[in-house]
């Protein structure tokens, strides 16, 4: 795709996002907010998975940390939502520093296992620390406060949608800029051939730790949006099942495309939404669809679409 066409497509997307709240019913808007939040979450995983080639099985931990961080802050101090978002993202990023530092000592499957172990550890903390987190009952009644002190309320479904959409668009642009920067090129070099990268005289690990933390920041932001939106945070938001679903979203949408995982998350959740209203056994169908996609669309939705467009010129 030419840069010009990409820009047009981007503008069209923003225009569509701007028009949607006026077209959609209230319930559909709620679903859309859900899709955007999980789109942001899947996109953050793509940073480490697609651009650096590190498969994390514990990404839900940072989503969950963001959710708990913002939920606790909003419940106890009622600051404006953006303050809670910042706090949730920073909490996730802060925890990702030591986890990333340890996990990046290993590569491949060992890296995946370490991230999974750390995530389950954090899940257990959330489950057992009843006084702070409410244990398995979670934290209910997280309020949607205001945009800034004395500012407009975000309880209105439209207002919260704008906030989520803005977060997603800004994050997407920031991540795109990051991947195109020299730092991003270095990440791709690590993905393609880490030994060669090292032999060129650079240490790969600082890059890996930094991108791990950045991915956690964005995952934390998604979680921090989720808590006030759903009014709720529970240990399930840091469970390995969500980490696995994030991997499926990224693969469905297209690894290493940033925008792909956002679309992947939307498709994945929409299929789930539709199927689960027909059958309790919807997981069988999502599983089957996923298998078919991996076999027939190995580049994911966006990867396949790009290749198709390139082939047509």
């Amino acid at each position: 795709m030419t840069p010009r066409r990409a820009r047009v497509l981007g503008l069209v997307t923003i225009a569509v996002l701007a028009v949607l709240p006026w077209v959609l019913a209230r319930h559909q808007l709620s679903i859309l907010v859900d899709l955007l939040i999980f789109g942001l979450f899947a996109m953050s995983l793509d940073l480490i998975m697609g651009y650096t080639g590190m498969v994390s099985f514990g990404h839900a931990a940072y989503f969950g940390l963001g959710a708990y961080g913002s939920a606790l802050l909003l419940i106890h101090f009622q600051p404006p939502v953006p303050v809670a978002l910042l706090a949730g993202a920073l909490l996730a990023g802060a925890v990702a520093v030591p986890v990333g530092w340890f996990s990046t000592r290993a590569t491949g499957i060992y890296f995946a296992m370490l991230t999974l172990a750390f995530a389950q550890l954090l899940y257990t903390v959330a489950y057992k620390w009843r006084d702070l987190t409410g244990g398995s009952d979670g934290i209910a009644g997280v309020p949607k406060t205001t945009l800034f002190w004395g500012g407009p309320s975000l309880a209105d479904p439209h207002a919260f949608y704008w906030l989520v959409a803005a977060c997603l668009v800004v994050s997407l642009r920031a991540c795109r800029a990051l991947t195109r920067s020299p730092f991003g090129r270095a990440l791709e070099a690590i993905r393609e051939n880490e030994r060669r990268f090292v032999s060129l005289g650079r240490d790969a690990r600082p890059f890996k730790v930094v991108v791990f933390v950045i991915a956690a920041l964005f995952a934390g932001l998604a979680g921090a949006l989720f808590a006030p939106f759903r009014g709720f945070a529970s240990p399930e938001v840091m469970f390995w099942v969500l980490s696995g679903q994030a991997l499926m979203m990224v693969i469905t949408g297209g690894i290493g495309t940033l925008v792909g995982p956002v679309i992947g998350a939307m498709v994945f959740l929409l299929i789930q939404e539709v199927l689960s209203s027909y059958t309790e056994h919807w997981m069988i169908f999502t599983g089957a669809i996923f298998v078919l996609m991996v076999i027939f669309l190995p580049g994911g939705l966006v990867g396949t679409a790009r290749r198709w467009m390139e082939a047509r010129g």
């Binding site: 244990g135 009952d137 209910a140 009014g231 199927l275």
Partner: protein, 401 residues
């Protein structure tokens, strides 16, 4: 493109070929009063969702025969929450925003109820609990959109404690599921047992869905307790009782259940005979209204009504009584006002809705699982009945006078 189409048609035909369960076939009746049930229809707690649904079915039949409520038919919309609070909120939100439901009920786990209840003021809907036990719902986490028809966990623990105060047993172990209901009820039980100068010698909180209770059973044995207070939901209780029987625990330690359910009696069988506990609704209660209800329920479903069959039916009946009084099924504020301080002739006695915390005051029962040749399974025999004012906590607290 062909492949995409193939995928699409595969998904659609796959989904359609599954027989769509009857509860999902929504009759979009014109102008119906819609009651949303974000309940548990899959997994270990599904039996509670089934009870809520059974009660709703009998109720819907009754309403139809009487020509509706305010001349409008009543329609129930079911969603499966799979026992997960986050899913429960999402499904409840769907019922409210998509289906325009103003009344929610049938929520199973207290953790789900706490999450949904907190959202009700924002959604401007009423939430009627007929199953949720956690004391916090009418205390710390109370809001005006929440009404509890059923006996709460602390109320059940209170009835049991009043009974045990007179019993010879002195040492107790408490085993509660690790979530709101289990924690609240064990807390309440411990306080009240201490108040009558008896001892809780140990407490454990297994997670929901525990399949292997061996380590807990060993601890209970070691504690030398004479009775074990159990606050376990559905399948967990059945599994525990079966294992406790296999390990010979029930010969040494008397099981005392916060809720003694038919479902457990059916699943565990005769091994459960002699188990005591509180009951929120024992179908054996001998009142004319209840005898009639049990007959009609059995005629429709071919089973005897369990605890939440009765409580949910009563809740729905009371709700329609209130809707008639308020003259509206849409104005939440008017319904709330009509409900507060109102009374209702329930199956097992008179109910009063306290204005201060929306807890229904009602009689409390202690029952024992006994064999009766007239029935295909054990039945709850009423050992003691306590008046509502003795088993209901002080307003907006989990404390008793």
């Amino acid at each position: 493109m062909k492949r995409r189409e193939f995928l699409k048609s595969a998904v659609v035909s796959g989904g359609a070929s599954l027989t769509v369960p009857a509860f999902l076939r929504r009759a979009y009746a014109q102008n119906a009063i819609k009651i949303g049930m974000p309940t548990v229809l899959s997994g270990g707690n599904a039996q509670y969702g089934i009870q809520a649904k059974r009660a709703a079915e009998l109720f819907a039949k009754d309403v139809k025969a009487r020509g509706g409520v305010l001349g409008r038919p009543v329609e129930f919309l079911y969603e499966d929450t799979a026992s997960d609070p986050a899913t429960a909120v999402r499904k409840a939100q769907k019922l409210v925003e998509k289906d325009g439901v103003k009344l929610l009920t049938g929520v199973v786990l207290s953790s789900e109820a706490l999450a949904i209840s907190a959202k009700c003021p924002e959604w401007k809907v009423l939430f009627m609990s007929t199953i949720n036990g956690a004391g916090a719902l009418t205390a710390k986490s109370f809001n005006r959109n929440f009404f509890r028809i059923n006996t709460s966990g602390p109320m059940g623990a209170r009835a049991v404690s009043l009974y045990l105060a007179e019993a010879p047993m002195k040492r107790f172990f408490a085993l509660g599921s690790d979530y709101a209901w289990g924690r609240d009820s064990v807390g309440s039980f411990s306080k009240q047992i201490a108040a009558v100068k008896k001892h809780v010698v140990g407490k454990e909180f297994p997670p929901v869905g525990t399949k292997d209770f061996a380590s807990y059973i060993a601890k209970i044995k070691q504690s030398k307790a004479e009775g074990c207070f159990l606050v376990l939901p559905g399948q967990d209780a059945t599994i525990f009782l079966k294992q406790a029987h296999q390990f010979g625990l029930t010969r040494e330690v008397k099981p005392i259940m916060e809720i003694l359910e038919l479902e457990n009696m059916k699943a565990v069988g005769d091994a459960m005979a002699g188990t005591i506990g509180s009951s929120r609704y024992p179908f054996t209660v001998d009142t004319p209204r209840n005898r009639d209800f049990v007959t009609r329920f059995h005629a429709l479903h071919n089973v005897y009504p369990d605890m939440f069959d009765g409580e949910t039916y009563e809740g729905l009946e009371w709700l329609t009584q209130v809707i008639r009084k308020a003259g509206t099924a849409d104005d939440i504020e008017k319904i709330t006002e009509a409900w507060e301080d109102s009374t209702y002739e329930g199956l097992e006695g008179t109910f009063t809705m306290r204005k201060c915390d929306h807890q229904a005051v009602q009689p409390g029962f202690v029952v024992e699982a006994v064999k009766d040749p007239k029935y295909p399974h054990l039945i709850p025999k009423i050992l003691a009945t306590y008046p509502g004012d003795r088993v209901t906590p002080k307003c907006r607290t989990e404390e008793f006078a």
